[in-house]
Symmetry: C2
C-alpha cells in the first residue's frame, strides 16, 4: 500500500541529533558572533547557507531548482507527478543579532520529514516539495516575505523592486546579482506560481510566543495568521548646533520621533485588546552627533493584530499623531509610507484536519491557536490551502540569541509534519 | 618701530578671495557630498586636510611642529623669542554632514592674519603661534576638545585614552597610528603645555548663534564660554519578536530612550532660563530591525548653560529620570556615564581690552557676548589668558551644510584678530 505505515512512523526514531547538528552548523553562517545569528539576504553568509540547504536537499534525494530571486525548491516526485504537489517550508534568513531556530526549523525540519518518510518506506502519490523562501525577514530591503509574496504574485512589488535600495544604497537587483540571482532582463513575474500548483502547504515553525511552553502542550495548530502592517515615517527639522541653538528656536526631528514612538505605544494600548501590538524597531537620527540637533529622524513601525479593523485603526491613529506632532514641533512630516498592510490569512480546514489527525495518531496533545507573527504561509495561503504547525520555544523568545527549542519538541514537530505531508500527499 | 602700523593694517586689503578659496578647498576633504562636510579625526580626509594646513603654514613662513596626538603648531619667531608666545587657532575637524566654517575660520583665518601682519611690515616681539587643535569635535571617540584638553593637562583623559574605542571598535591608539601619530611607548603627557607657554590666546570663530547677524554687528567679543556636560545612557530590556511578544510582557529599551529624550527637554525648559539647552543627538537601537523589540538603547545627551549650577541641576534631573524610567519600564539602566561636565571659562581682561581696542581702531562695532558653544579656548583658558572673536554667520546656523559666513565678515574677523595678535605680541 502507498499509505504511510503510521505505527512505524510514530515509533520511528527520527535523527534528532543530526537535525540539531544541522541547526547548529547553519547558525555558524552568521555576520555576528555566537550565540547570535545575523544572516541577511544576498550577503556572503546567506549565499553560503543557501548552498548548505541545497546540498542537504540533494542528500535527501530531492531534485533542486531555484527561481530568479532565489526561492529554492526540492522536489520528491510522487507516483502521480501530474497532480498538484504538497508544499512545505520556511525561511533561513535571520535578522541582526537573532537566534538559530526562527524559520530554520521549518526548512531543516521539512528536509528531515522527507528523510523520515523515506526511511519509513513511504511513497508519495502527490509530489512533495520543500521550499526555502527568499527573505521572509524585511531586514535588507524593508520588504517582508519577499519570496512568498512574489510566488503569490504582486505586480506592485515587482515594479517597486526596480527602485528599491538597501541602507547602503545598493539596489535590489545589484544585491541579487551579487548572489547569483536576477540576471539582466529577468522577468520577476516568472516567480509567480498559479493557484493549483500546490494542493496544500504546511509550515513548521517555533511558536515565538509563550503559550505552548507555559501550558506544556507539544503541538500548536495554527488556524489564522495575524495581520501585520509596517510603516516608515520621516521627520525633517532645522538641525543645528547643540550648544548655540536656543530651545524656542529649535525644531528637533529626533524629539518628534521620540514622541511618535510613545504615541504608538499609547494607541496600541487604547485598542483594549491583548492581541494588538506595536513596535518601533528602527529609529535613526541624522546627523547622529552628540553635539548636533537632529535635522532628520527616520522611524519604522510594525503593528499587528488578529483583527484587521482594529489594526487599521492603530495605523490611522499613528498617521494622525505623526501629523499633529509635526505641526506642534514645527518639523516637516517628509514621509509617511505604509510599506505593507496585509490582510490576515486563515488556515485551510482540510489541512487543519490532517494536522489534527497526525497529532492524535502520534499521541501528541495539541492546541488550536493564532499566529501573531507573520510567516511565508500568510502569502502561500493566497495560492494554496495552508496550515502551520507550531512547537514550543523557551519563554516564547524569538528574534534574539536566547531563542531555543528543545530537541524533543523539534522531533515532535518534524513527526507531525511528516505525517501531515503523507496524508495530504495521498488525499 | 616694531609697533604695528594701524593705519596700514586697517586700510590693507586683506586677501579675502584667497581665504575664501582655502575655505572652499578645505571643504572638499570630506567623507560626505557637498555642500555638507564630514571630516573625522584620523581618517584619510583628516590626514589630507592636516597636510593642507601644514603646507599653508609653511607658505606663510611659519615653522611647523606637531605633538604626538597631532596638535599642529606654526610659529613666527618674535625678536624676543624667549618671551611667552601669543597663540591663536582653532580646529578643522567637522562632525558628520556639517558645514565648512566651524573651526576652519579660526585656523585659516589665523594663518591669513599672520600674512596680513607680514605684509604690513609688522615684526612681532613675542613669537606668534598658530595652533590647529586635534579633534575639537567629539565625533569619533566621544571626547570633545581632545587636543586642547591634553594641552591643558588631564591625567584622567591620558589614562582613559588607553581604553578608548570608536564605534567600529578601533582603539584610539590604532586610529592615531594609522594617521602617523602616537607611536609605541609615546607618553601623552608630552602634549601638556605649562602655564606661561603663552602670554595670551585668541580664537576667531563664527558665532554659531543668530545675535550678531540679527543686530547687524560685525564683531562679537566673548567674555565667557558656557559650561557643557555630556552624558551617555544605556538601557537594556528583553527584546523579542515584534509580533509575538504581547505588550504587558515587554520591556522595550527603545521606548525608555524615547521617554528619556522627552524628559531631557522638559528638564531643560524647567530651568526657566533661555540659556539652558539640552540635546539628544544620538539614539541607537539594538538590534535595529523593524520586527524586533529593541533590547538595547544607547542615548547621548549634551546639555549646557552659562550657569554651571543650573546646568548641574539638569544633569541631576536626567539621572533621576533615567532611574525612574528604567524602573517603570522594567528595563535595566546598564550605563549612565557623565563623559564630561566642564566648568565655564572666563575670557581674560587684558585680552578683551586688546580685542576691543582693535575693533575700535578698525571702526568695527562690537558686542560683548557669551559663547554658548564650547571651543578649544575653554581649555586654553586653563593654561593661558584667553579671548575669542566672533563673526556673524547666516541665521546662526552651524553643524549643518547651510553654515555660512560672508566674505566681508570673514575679513573683519581676520583684521581684528591680526591687530589683537599684534597688540598682545608687544605687550
Ligand atoms: Mn522572524
Ligand atoms: Mn520566521
Ligand atoms: Mn563644532
Ligand atoms: Mn568650532
Amino acid at each position: 500500500s502507498s499509505e504511510p505505515n503510521h505505527d512505524s512512523l510514530s515509533s520511528l526514531t527520527l535523527d534528532t541529533q543530526s537535525l540539531q547538528n544541522q541547526i547548529d552548523e547553519l547558525a555558524t553562517f552568521s555576520d555576528s558572533p555566537p550565540p547570535s545569528v545575523t544572516r541577511v539576504l544576498y550577503t556572503d553568509k546567506d549565499v553560503a547557507a543557501r548552498r548548505y540547504i541545497k546540498n542537504l536537499m540533494g542528500l535527501a534525494g530531492l531534485s533542486v531548482r531555484e527561481d530568479t530571486i532565489g526561492n529554492i525548491f526540492g522536489r520528491w516526485d510522487g507516483y502521480e507527478p501530474e497532480l498538484a504537489a504538497v508544499g512545505t517550508g520556511s525561511h533561513i534568513d535571520a535578522i541582526p543579532y537573532s537566534g538559530k531556530y526562527d524559520g530554520v526549523v521549518g526548512v531543516l525540519g521539512a528536509i528531515e520529514a522527507i528523510n523520515v518518510l523515506k526511511k519509513a518506506g513511504f511513497k508519495p502519490k502527490r509530489s512533495l516539495e520543500v521550499i526555502m523562501f527568499t527573505s521572509e525577514e524585511p531586514t535588507r530591503f524593508g520588504i517582508s516575505c519577499l519570496g512568498s509574496r512574489l510566488i503569490a504574485g504582486s505586480d506592485t512589488l515587482e515594479k517597486a523592486l526596480k527602485n528599491t535600495y538597501d541602507s547602503q544604497n545598493v539596489s535590489f537587483s545589484d544585491a541579487a546579482k551579487s548572489a547569483g540571482y536576477v540576471r539582466d532582463n529577468d522577468d520577476l513575474s516568472g516567480v509567480l506560481l498559479k493557484y493549483g500548483t500546490y494542493s496544500g502547504f504546511v509550515e513548521l515553525h517555533i511558536e515565538q510566543g509563550p503559550i505552548l511552553e507555559a501550558e506544556g502542550i507539544p503541538i500548536g495548530i495554527v488556524t489564522a495568521i495575524a495581520a501585520p502592517a509596517s510603516i516608515k515615517v520621516d521627520f525633517e527639522g532645522e538641525g543645528g548646533h547643540a550648544g548655540a541653538a536656543l530651545m524656542p528656536n529649535r525644531n528637533d526631528a529626533g524629539l518628534a520621533a521620540a514622541e511618535l514612538a510613545l504615541a504608538l505605544e499609547r494607541h496600541v494600548l487604547e485598542s483594549g485588546s491583548i492581541d494588538t501590538v506595536g513596535t518601533v524597531g528602527i529609529l535613526d537620527l541624522h546627523p547622529r552627533a552628540v553635539n548636533s540637533i537632529p535635522s532628520k529622524a527616520h522611524v519604522e513601525i510594525d503593528t499587528r493584530d488578529i483583527n484587521e479593523t482594529r489594526r487599521n485603526i492603530v495605523v490611522e491613529k499613528i498617521h494622525q499623531s505623526a501629523v499633529e506632532i509635526a505641526k506642534k514641533r514645527k518639523v516637516r512630516l517628509s514621509g509617511f509610507e505604509i510599506v505593507n498592510q496585509d490582510p490576515p490569512a486563515l488556515a485551510d480546514k482540510k489541512v487543519i484536519e490532517a494536522m489534527e489527525a497526525s497529532s492524535r495518531e502520534l499521541n501528541l496533545d495539541y492546541k488550536l491557536m493564532v499566529s501573531r507573527a507573520y510567516h511565508d504561509s500568510l502569502f502561500m495561503a493566497r495560492v494554496s490551502p495552508m496550515g502551520m504547525i507550531f512547537i514550543p520555544c523557551y519563554k516564547g523568545y524569538s528574534h534574539k540569541p536566547e531563542e531555543y527549542a528543545a530537541p524533543k519538541d523539534l522531533a515532535n514537530g518534524v513527526k507531525v509534519l511528516a505525517l501531515t505531508l503523507a496524508k495530504l500527499s495521498v488525499s
